[in-house]
């Protein structure tokens, strides 16, 4: 899966999951509130029935002429009798601060039921019943709803993943088409570029002819094309090619690459300063090192001014390439590693150079430091 496709799929999934789960949670919350009320109503109805049966028992007591009247008590609830002036008559508990106007009241997890009685058996005008609210059904409901939400999250995640794949399929196809096109194009470019470069070298070696400057220009143009080919091939093969990581002499490689860019440096009349320590070795794939150096050197030349300065320093710990070119401001520095990002639209290139640099330093866990000032120049340091 392509990186951008992964990113798109991830973003789609996030938005899809947030909206779906928000709606689902809202619906579930409403359901929970209704269900909670219903469960509470069930307990209220049960207490109401208890009150009804207690009234019957009190009526029987009222008719009883015995010297002792045994007050009916139940394990499931407690009750108390009040007269019309709200004076306590009797009961197996003594409630306080009761609002006789409302039939049901909940205080500290206890359900109170106030039942008006008429006629007033034993003088009872109000019957007050209390029963602790049974929390078990509420806990069961909450547990079921949580499980349901978890299940919904799981189902919607799978559904979202497949939907996302479906939506990103056209994008993936376009990418694949574009990559195939670049691959084909670069492949077709390789042979003519190699032919031009080889023949220019042959011309320089074998023949002494006029038009040296024109030949130089052809050489620079061909080398630019050759590097572009290498960059494009690198990007295309990045996920597939096998890296041969071994210690390489970076000093020699750096010297070779400076020599390779010599014609471009000359063409721009850039003054080159080199401080390259000999036989510095780092463990890296040679192609990665080549692309890293080439891109940094190429940028330093490309964005340099005419008769500018180019300073290359290499020691055991870092490589630094400094130019006196157009430089960059903070905003440009923030997006420098983005693919297809170009500092100067008037210069050639696809803007893939720094993306390649970033990929390589990330892979080897190198550290990159870029100091740049607009119209002053840029210094790129890589530490390993």
């Amino acid at each position: 899966m392509l990186k951008s496709e992964k990113k798109s799929l991830f973003r789609f999934l996030i938005i899809y999951m947030i909206t779906t789960m928000a709606l689902f949670t809202l619906a579930t919350t409403i359901f929970y509130i209704f269900e909670k009320h219903w469960l509470l109503d069930v307990q209220k109805d049960a207490l109401k029935l208890n009150a009804e049966s207690l009234v019957v028992k009190i009526r029987q007591l009222h008719l009883d002429d015995s010297d002792k009247l045994i007050y009916p008590i139940e394990d499931s609830y407690k009750s108390a009798l009040f007269d019309i002036d709200k004076n306590y008559i009797f009961g197996d508990f003594r409630p306080k601060n009761i609002d006789f106007k409302i039939p049901f009241e909940i205080k500290d997890g206890v359900l109170y039921h106030i039942k008006p009685v008429s006629p007033y058996y034993l003088g009872t005008a109000y019957l007050v019943l209390k029963k602790p609210i049974n929390q078990a059904p509420f806990e069961r409901l909450l547990w079921t709803i949580s499980l349901f939400l978890l299940f919904a999250f799981f189902v919607f995640s799978i559904l979202g993943f497949f939907l996302g794949k479906l939506f990103t399929a056209p994008m993936r196809q376009s990418f694949e088409k574009m990559n195939r096109f670049i691959q084909d194009t670069t492949h077709e470019l390789n042979t003519p570029i190699s032919t031009i470069l080889t023949n220019i070298e042959l011309l320089e070696t074998l023949y002494e002819c006029d038009g040296k400057q024109e030949r130089k220009r052809i050489e620079i143009a061909s080398k630019t094309l050759s590097r572009l080919y290498d960059d494009l091939t690198y990007i295309n093969l990045n996920h597939k090619h096998h890296r041969d990581i071994k210690p390489i002499n970076i000093s020699t490689l750096l010297d070779e690459r400076i020599l390779y860019f010599d014609s471009m440096i000359e063409a721009k009349k850039i003054t080159l300063t080199k401080q390259i320590d000999k036989d510095i070795t780092i463990t890296i794939d040679e192609n990665d090192a080549l692309r890293l150096i080439d891109n940094l050197l190429s940028n330093a030349i490309k964005y340099n001014r005419q008769k500018g300065l180019l300073k290359v320093i290499l020691d055991a710990k870092f490589l630094s390439i400094e130019d006196s070119g157009i430089g960059m401001d903070k905003k440009e520095l923030e997006v420098i590693f983005r693919r297809y990002q170009r500092s100067n639209q008037s210069e050639g290139g696809f803007g893939i150079g720094m993306d390649i640099v970033n990929q390589i330093i990330s892979f080897y866990k190198f550290k990159i430091d870029i100091e740049s000032k607009k119209k002053k120049g840029t210094k790129v340091s890589i530490r390993w």
């Binding site: 007591l61 009222h62 002429d65 015995s66 010297d67 002792k68 009247l69 045994i70 007050y71 008590i73 007269d83 019309i84 002036d85 004076n87 008559i89 009797f90 197996d92 006629p119 007033y120 058996y121 034993l122 003088g123 009872t124 005008a125």
Partner: protein
């Protein structure tokens, strides 16, 4: 002159023998086998609170009518209406309070311990 004679008679009656609740009220009630407990329960059933019952009883005893009576009309028809009680308000209220206290149902209620 008639008024003075009447007042003297009342005073004499009030001072007579038993100047307490038992002697003034229950003596006749018991002699006539009046079911005090049942009467009180009828009051409870209709008026609920002790304070209300006391007020209603005092009012009835001071000026008994069929409408004010707690007993049903056939009962009054058969046994007749109670005679007006000739007692001071304070005494009447005291005796009524004692009556309510004596026949209070609340004190009969108990919780049976298991």
């Amino acid at each position: 002159m008639v008024k003075i004679t009447g007042l003297l008679l009342i005073v004499l009656l009030t001072l007579d023998a038993s100047e307490n609740f038992e002697g003034t009220c229950l003596k006749c009630h018991n002699a006539q086998k009046i079911p005090n407990s049942l009467i009180y329960k009828r009051y409870l059933l209709k008026y609920s609170s002790k304070e209300k019952i006391k007020a209603i009883m005092v009012d009835y005893l001071k000026n008994p009518t069929m409408q004010k009576s707690i007993m049903p009309p056939p009962f009054i028809t058969k046994f007749g209406l109670k005679k007006k009680v000739v007692l001071s308000d304070a005494m009447l209220e005291k005796y009524v309070a004692e009556f309510v206290k004596k026949y209070d149902v609340g004190k009969k209620l108990i919780i049976e311990k298991y």
